[in-house]
C-alpha cells in the first residue's frame, strides 16, 4: 500500500463516523462482466449505475468508482466503495475492435485508451484498494497468464479476494473449472446480467470485506 494512500486513509478515517469504508476493486480480464456486476451492485443498493456495459471488449477504459454503497446482510451492514476497473490484458490490438465493425481511427483510439486503462487499473491495485473481487467469465478458460499474474499480485499484497464465476447463465459455463484454477480462494457463482445468486454474492461481500 502506498504511503500516499495510507496517509489518505488515515485522514479519511479521522473524519469518518467510525465505520471503516473499504475500497473494493473489481478486477478481471476484459469482457468478464465487471461493469455489469458493478452496475448490479450499485443499482441494488443505491439505484444508480456505474458505467455503460458492452459486449465489445475494453468498454471500460477508465476506472470508475461508486462510493458509499451500504450493503445489509444478516443484520449487519458494510459500507464499501466499489471501483470498476478496465479489463486487464497483456496485449491490446485495434484489429480486435475492427472485427466489431469499428472504423480504424476509432479502433486505434479505443486501443490506446484501453492500454492507458490497464495501466490505471494496475496502479489502483498497487495504491488504492483494500480488497478485490476478481471476476471471471465461467465460459472461458481461467488458466491464463493475466489471471495467474493478477491473482498472484493480489495474494502478494495480502488483500482479501473473492473469485466471482460470472456468466453462469451461459451454456458453456463451468464453475468447477474456475474453482480448480484457484482452489485457494472462495469461488462464488453468479450471473450479474440475470441477477442469479446475488444473495450469496452480497453475503460473501459482507463476510469478506465487512
Amino acid at each position: 500500500m502506498g504511503l500516499l494512500a495510507g496517509l489518505r486513509n488515515s485522514i479519511s478515517n479521522l473524519f469518518s463516523s467510525g465505520q471503516k469504508q473499504r475500497r473494493i476493486g473489481i478486477y478481471g480480464p476484459p469482457n468478464a462482466g465487471k461493469t455489469t456486476l458493478a452496475n448490479r451492485i450499485a443499482r441494488d443498493w443505491t439505484g444508480d449505475a456505474v458505467g455503460p456495459e458492452s459486449h465489445i471488449p475494453h468498454e471500460t477504459r477508465r476506472a470508475r468508482r461508486k462510493e458509499d454503497i451500504e450493503i445489509e446482510r444478516n443484520g449487519k451492514s458494510v459500507n464499501i466503495d466499489i471501483v470498476d476497473t478496465p479489463g486487464v490484458a497483456t496485449k491490446v490490438d485495434y484489429e480486435e475492435f475492427i472485427e466489431h465493425d469499428m472504423e480504424k481511427d476509432d479502433a486505434v483510439r479505443r486501443s490506446r485508451e484501453a492500454t492507458e486503462g490497464v495501466a490505471e487499473a494496475m496502479h489502483w491495485l498497487r495504491e488504492d484498494v483494500d480488497g478485490v473481487i476478481y471476476v471471471l467469465d465461467s465460459a472461458e478458460d481461467p488458466f491464463t497468464q493475466v489471471n495467474t499474474m493478477l491473482v498472484g499480485i493480489i495474494e502478494s499484497q495480502d488483500l482479501p479476494v473473492l473469485i466471482f464465476a460470472n456468466k453462469i447463465d451461459l451454456e458453456d459455463a463451468s464453475i468447477q473449472r474456475i474453482t480448480n484454477a484457484f482452489p485457494q480462494h472462495e469461488t462464488v457463482p453468479l450471473s450479474a446480467l440475470e441477477g442469479e445468486n446475488m444473495d450469496e454474492v452480497y453475503e460473501k461481500i459482507a463476510e469478506y470485506f465487512g
Binding site: 500516499l4 486487464v88 497483456t90 490490438d93 485495434y94 490497464v118 495501466a119 494496475m122 499474474m149
Partner: protein, 222 residues
C-alpha cells in the same frame, strides 16, 4: 589481465596496489576490470591470431562463438593476454614476458614514445577511448603495440560487433523492462508486473510514442 588502464592500455595483475597511485605509464586513473573469463576469451582470440593470421582476426570479433576458449588455453590465459605483442612464442615464454612486463611497469619510467602512443587514442578522440574500454577478444592492449597494423582492423571490426551486441542487448532490455511496448499505433504489449511495480502512473499515451506520467509525490485529488 584483471585490470587495464583505459588511457594507455597498461595492464595490472589482480590485486595490484600499483593502480592506487595512478597508472605508472600515463598517470591515468581509470581502469577497467577484465574478469578471468574475458581474459580467457582474449587469450583464445590471440592464439587464433597467432595460428591463422589476418583472416582469423577478422572472423574472431564477428563470431562470439569462435572466441570461446579451447580447453588448452585456460592455463596460460592470464599470461598471454597481458598486452605483450603476439610474437608466436610458446607458453613458458609468454609467462616470462608477463613477468618482464610487470617488472618493467614497477621499475622503469615510460619513454616519451610510449607516452605519446598511449595518449593518442584518448586525446584525439574521446569515442576512441570509450571503444577501447569496451574492447573484447583479440585486442587487449592496442596501445602497447602501436605498430601492429592488425590492431586497427580489429578495432573497426569490433566496433561493428559491439554495435550489433548493443542493439541486441537493448532489444533484450526493452523486452524485459518496458511496461508498455508500442508495436504500432493501436497495437500494444503490456508488461503487467512492470506496470504494477512502477511508482509512476501512466495517464496518457501520445501518438508519437511518448508517455505522460503522473510522478509520485503529486497529490491525487479525491
Amino acid at each position: 589481465m584483471p585490470h587495464q588502464c583505459t588511457e594507455c592500455g597498461h595492464t595490472f595483475p589482480d590485486g595490484s596496489k600499483e593502480m592506487l597511485s595512478g597508472c605508472p605509464d600515463c598517470g591515468g586513473n581509470k581502469f577497467k576490470f577484465e574478469p578471468a573469463a574475458d581474459a580467457r576469451e582474449a587469450s583464445a582470440a590471440q592464439s587464433a591470431d597467432e595460428s591463422t593470421d589476418a583472416a582469423a582476426t577478422e572472423h574472431a570479433p564477428d563470431d562470439p562463438a569462435a572466441a570461446q576458449p579451447p580447453p588448452a588455453a585456460d592455463g596460460p590465459a592470464d599470461a598471454s593476454s597481458d598486452g605483450s605483442p603476439p610474437d608466436g612464442s610458446d607458453t613458458p615464454a609468454a609467462v616470462e614476458t608477463e613477468d618482464g612486463a610487470q617488472a618493467d611497469a614497477r621499475s622503469d619510467v615510460a619513454s616519451p614514445d610510449d607516452l605519446a602512443a598511449g595518449a593518442a587514442p584518448g586525446t584525439d578522440d574521446i569515442a576512441a577511448s570509450d571503444d577501447s574500454a569496451t574492447l573484447s577478444a583479440g585486442e587487449t592492449d592496442p596501445s602497447a603495440d602501436p605498430t601492429d597494423p592488425a590492431d586497427d582492423s580489429d578495432a573497426s571490426d569490433t566496433d561493428g560487433a559491439d554495435d550489433a551486441e548493443m542493439a541486441a542487448l537493448r532489444r533484450e532490455l526493452d523486452d524485459q523492462f518496458e511496461s508498455i511496448k508500442i508495436l504500432e499505433p493501436g497495437q500494444y504489449e503490456l508488461n503487467l508486473m512492470e506496470l504494477y511495480n512502477r511508482e509512476e502512473f501512466i495517464i496518457a499515451l501520445q501518438e508519437d510514442g511518448q508517455y505522460v506520467i503522473d510522478v509520485p509525490g503529486s497529490w491525487h485529488g479525491e
